[in-house]
């Protein structure tokens, strides 16, 4: 019988009551007495020299409080980058200054030039129209390969070139890989683009800066996935405000998908301006602004080669990738195409030799950083596409080719040639489960039905692995992270037994307020309703690194387990005292402490009350109170894996692709709340189908965004999607965290795109369009039709 509470149960998401009834408190709902409104005047050109900014007419417009430009930010630091990558030759990456407001030059459409603060937003916008910016346009740098040729126009004049870094991994393997490819029985080569995406969280970014002159305290309310990270970056590197004088609050946040990890210029500008103008300053991004100022995702151009021996075992992989950084380095941008991408290039397979080369390039486009999956989708996409192509070239079944090369259960822990060690997995189990769920045996009959309707049906298979639970701090430190990646939890038991759990992770759709209490309640044997989760406020929670990289349950949940264990230990001491028994004999079960082998027991609430009203209490041994904090630093990543399989139908007359069936068989390790996990996979699959078929962030050669609104940027809608069949019954628990959990937030976005593209190529091949070996995403009707008729 399914459980109705604790780990493994699916209580409804308690936060949904407020979200669905309009009672959520988002950043834009925060209005502080006397607040003024900021509007950013942004560059309309991709690249240009600023000759002058005349704000005099604007400054005297009605309602204008203050207008700030780059010169007002002299003495203020630039927007920092949180990860330094070292290149193939041991040199540090090239790191340009990223001023809060454009200094001397504009480098992408949307680069902020001036901040106009007024009594109302419309007044600020009116005044912005009256600012005269004299710009000489420069040639925009758009094409990555051309950008790193000698003599190319530079995005940053003070850098040597537009090449941020040329990274090789594992550099020592380079020659051995070349050799293995040269001597291989078969080599499959594929060139592909991982399309640039706009994250598009439902809630656009918002920042409200507030300053209290009486105490010299700053508060920033912001739409962030990690308020402590923002406090550290903005306080230490941009504005020079020590942590105890800066509070960062990220209240209800309506989706992030990575784009709300980073510290953005607008946050620093609003905080800075609040002191300058003596009023709270609020900025709310419009959707149009979000398209040009939220960090974008993906944008890789890759050539991958897969070498196989005569027995079809993979012998080597070589990849050559150009990764677009955009105009500046966003917070974690350098790590995405490197450590979050190269390390996953082994996939689920035993390939012994791998070499990944990545050239990160500056262009006159909006900065690019992590987007759901971040680097891992790019790795999986190449690998799962090239394997499919190899199977086709060799005339073997794509599922069988995968099985032949899978790491087998008895090979774990498995050290890959790309520096990571997978702890557990059973990839045959997930692939078999997925094939069963899609009813692969019945495919031919369904394909015949499609054919009778004039449609082409294809079966698309992909198997993915990712590294979640980010991350062991000492390891990422060696790899260039300028931060630790532990997580924190404080379990504060109140006198009457209710509990507030403060977590450094942050919920922006993940359902933490529901899942975390399930863990703590299970450990204590008390009702989940007695436990509340507190997050998103640096003044309330211990320093934590926030939520991304499917890390919350694996790292944040583990911290919570550790803190709860400390609570149990102390509570047992109190119970032992109350029961006049030895601590070693105390058992905690169903919310009561009992003496083993007796009927003597004391209730949870009696113990907690004793902790705060310590009249009868072992004061000589332990302190009063019942509150514990733990910081958990994982010893390894977690490695969820799974099969993503679909059936698609192509309309040969128009090229339109319909996804008819979609199954996902994941191994997430242990699952806390299956319903929430289903939801996470559903959302990820929707985004994956979005990337594969619909979404495309495209620029023209002048650096103008062609897909700058929903008129041209295609978000997936319900009617673009089939019903999903999702399973997570294949479980190999993580071996190194206390819950045995792996993380599920990104899986869908990683496994889905190659499954869809493989399905479409399969459909075309079955119908005789064998000249089509690849179509770049998104597979719009026009592209599929052109490929068929090309």
């Amino acid at each position: 019988m399914p459980k109705d509470s604790g780990i493994g149960a699916s209580p409804k998401r308690r936060e949904d009551v407020r979200f669905l009834t309009g009672k959520g408190q988002y950043t834009d709902d925060i209005n502080i007495h006397g607040q003024a409104y900021a509007h950013f005047l942004r560059s309309e050109v991709a690249h240009g020299t600023i000759n002058g900014i005349d704000t005099s007419a604007a400054a005297s417009m009605p309602g204008v409080v203050q207008i700030l430009t780059a010169k007002d930010f002299e003495g203020v630091g630039g927007v920092p980058c949180g990860w330094q990558v070292t290149d193939r030759h041991g040199e540090a990456m090239q790191e340009p200054k990223h001023p809060v407001l454009a200094e001397g030059k504009v480098r992408h459409v949307g680069d902020p030039i001036a901040m106009v603060i007024a009594d109302t937003l419309e007044q600020a916008r009116d005044a912005a129209e009256a600012i005269d910016v004299d710009i000489t346009e420069l040639e925009p740098v758009m094409d990555m390969k051309a950008a790193i040729k000698d003599g190319a126009t530079k995005v940053h004049d003070d850098l040597i070139s537009n090449l941020c870094y040329d990274w090789g991994f594992v550099e020592e393997n380079r020659e051995a890989v070349d050799e293995a490819i040269k001597s291989a029985a078969h080599v499959t080569t594929l060139e592909l683009v991982n399309n640039r995406l706009v994250a598009n969280p439902m809630e656009p970014r918002v920042a409200v800066g507030d300053y209290a002159p009486g105490t010299d305290d700053y508060t920033l309310y912001t739409t962030s996935q990690n308020p402590h990270v923002i406090r550290l970056l903005m306080g230490a590197f941009v504005l020079g405000i020590p942590e105890h004088k800066l509070r960062v609050v990220a209240p209800d946040v309506g989706g992030g998908f990575g784009a709300k990890i980073y510290h953005y210029a607008e946050e620093a500008a609003c905080t800075f301006a609040a002191k300058q103008c003596g009023r709270p300053v609020k900025w709310t991004s419009s959707r149009s602004e979000a398209f040009i100022s939220d960090a974008h995702g993906r944008d890789h151009v890759t050539k991958i080669e897969l070498a196989l021996d005569a027995d079809h075992k993979f012998t080597a992989i070589r990849t050559d990738t150009y990764a677009n950084m955009g105009a500046y380095l966003s917070t974690f941008a350098p790590s995405i195409p490197t450590w979050l991408h190269g390390t996953l290039m082994a996939g689920n397979y035993t390939t012994p030799l791998i070499y990944v080369n990545v050239k990160a390039v500056f262009t006159n486009t909006t900065p690019v950083d992590a987007y759901r999956g971040a680097g891992r989708p790019e790795a999986t996409f190449q690998l799962e596409r090239v394997i499919d192509k190899a199977a086709r070239e060799l005339g073997v079944d794509p599922a069988d080719l995968r099985r032949k090369n899978f790491i087998k259960p008895d090979q774990f822990p498995y050290a890959t040639p790309v520096a990571v060690e997978y702890d557990t997995g059973d990839y045959d189990a997930t692939l078999d489960k997925g094939m069963e769920m899609i009813d692969a045996a019945g495919f031919e009959a369904r394909a015949a039905e499609s054919k009778a309707k004039g449609k082409l049906r294809g079966l698309g298979i992909a198997h993915f692995i990712e590294a979640c639970g980010i991350a062991p701090s000492n390891l990422v430190g060696q790899l260039g992270a300028r931060a630790g990646l532990y997580e924190s939890a404080t379990v504060r038991v109140n006198a009457t037994g209710s509990i507030s759990v403060m977590t450094g992770s942050h919920s922006h759709g993940q359902g933490h307020e529901t899942s975390y209490p399930q863990v703590v309640a299970e450990m204590l044997g008390i009702d989940e309703s007695m436990i509340d989760i507190v997050h998103g406020d640096t003044s309330k929670t211990p320093m934590g690194m926030g939520t991304y990289g499917s890390r919350s349950i694996a790292v944040g949940g583990s911290a919570m387990v550790r803190a709860t264990e400390k609570i149990i230990n102390k509570a047992k001491k109190i119970a032992a005292h109350l029961l006049e028994a030895s601590e070693a004999d105390i058992e905690l079960k169903d919310g009561a402490f009992s003496v083993a082998g007796t009927d003597k027991s004391v209730a949870w609430g009696d113990v907690t009350l004793a902790a705060y009203v310590p009249h009868n209490y072992p004061l000589e041994d332990i302190e009063p109170g019942l509150e514990e904090t733990a910081f958990y630093d994982p010893s390894n990543f977690t490695y969820p894996a799974g099969a993503y399989i679909c059936e698609v139908e192509v309309d040969p007359e128009t090229g339109k692709v319909d996804v008819l069936k979609f199954v996902a068989a994941d191994d997430f390790g242990n699952v806390i709340n299956p319903m929430i996990v289903y939801g996470q996979v559903h959302g990820g699959v929707a985004q994956g189908i979005g990337q594969a078929l619909l979404e495309n962030c495209a620029y023209d050669e002048n650096g103008q965004l062609l897909s700058g609104s929903y008129m041209d940027y295609t978000m997936p809608r319900a009617d673009d999607l089939p019903m999903f069949d999702v399973d997570h019954s294949c479980v190999t628990p993580c071996t190194h965290n206390p819950l045995g959990v792996k993380g599920c937030g990104e899986a869908g976005a990683i496994g889905t795109p190659p499954a869809i593209v493989n399905g479409v190529i399969d459909a075309l091949h079955r119908a005789g369009h064998t000249h089509v070996s690849h179509i770049d995403m998104p597979l719009t009707p026009a592209r599929v039709w052109a490929a068929m008729n090309g």
Binding site: E122, R125, D126, E129, S288, E653, T654, G655, K656, L694, N696, A698, L706, S707, Y710, M711, D712, Y713, T714, M715, T780, P781, A782, W785, A786
Partner: protein
């Protein structure tokens, strides 16, 4: 959005008078105009709402058997009220945007705007409709004059559109994936006098009649009749969502499908 005055007259003559003011602009359902104003790309000083002009709202049939639709009638109302009298037109109205758009947007606004990817222009041209304004009657063949361009003069408003009812008609819309306007839409209508085929979404000159297909379909109203025809890609729109070649191809595919569906 800039500040503006708002007036809501109750008669055509009051509306026309109000539109005589400096930088006054008609407001239908606002589904095109309001987003444009929010983007600060339009800044009329006065908006003259037509939704209160009773004589411009509603659907009826005149003595000639034509369906007469008031210029301020919403897409939803057209969809509902022509469902049995002119199913081809009703079907088209039901494919415009989403329910919110259909409950606000009006036929007059759509025809006045003449977006090259809008649906209604193909129905008006494909039906040989008459566009009635406060001053005159304009044949659809003379009304559409290229992308976002019509025969309307400054301050002239579409008060009514009269559709002769065909024996069979159908609209096939291949949607632009993001906006879900027509990437290419084809309206086919069969009259005793012959077949009309109007294409929207495809051409750089806005809605147009595909005369070759009209001739072929007038002799044989079957999808097969257009099978061997082709539309030149020259002058077709090329953008993120489709090349001129692709659109030219879709014109033929959608025409064939419209004919089949109209049977």
């Amino acid at each position: 959005m800039h500040n503006f005055e708002f007036v809501k007259p109750g008669t055509i003559s009051d509306a026309v008078a109000a539109l005589g003011g400096e930088e006054a602009q008609a407001l239908g359902g606002g589904q095109t105009l309001l987003p444009t104003m929010k983007q600060r790309l339009a800044a009329p000083t006065t908006l003259v709402s037509l939704s209160g002009v009773g004589e411009m709202v509603g659907v009826c049939t005149n003595d000639a058997g034509e369906i007469c639709i008031g210029g301020a009638t919403t897409h939803a109302q057209v969809q509902a009220e022509t469902a049995s009298s002119y199913p081809g037109l009703s079907g088209l109205a039901g494919q415009i945007g989403d329910p919110a758009v259909r409950n606000r947007g009006t036929i007059g606004g759509s025809l006045a705007n003449n977006d090259p990817a809008a649906c209604y222009p193909s129905a008006a041209l494909g039906s040989g409709a008459t566009i009635v304004t406060n001053t005159r009657e304009i044949a659809a063949d003379d009304y559409f004059q290229g992308m976002f361009t019509t025969a309307l003069d400054e301050g002239e408003i579409v008060t009514e559109v009269r559709f002769p009812v065909p024996m069979a008609a159908n609209y096939q819309k291949f949607v632009q994936p993001a906006s879900r306007f027509a990437l290419t839409g084809v309206f086919v209508a069969k009259y005793a006098s012959g077949v009309r085929v109007a294409v929207t979404g495809a051409s750089e000159n806005g809605v147009f009649r595909w005369s070759e297909a009209e001739a072929a379909l007038s002799s044989s109203f079957t999808a097969d009749a257009v099978k061997d025809l082709s539309v030149p890609a020259d002058g077709m729109i090329g953008d993120l969502h489709g090349t001129p070649d692709y659109r030219a191809h879709l014109v033929k595919v959608m025409t064939g499908r419209a004919v089949t569906a109209a049977q």
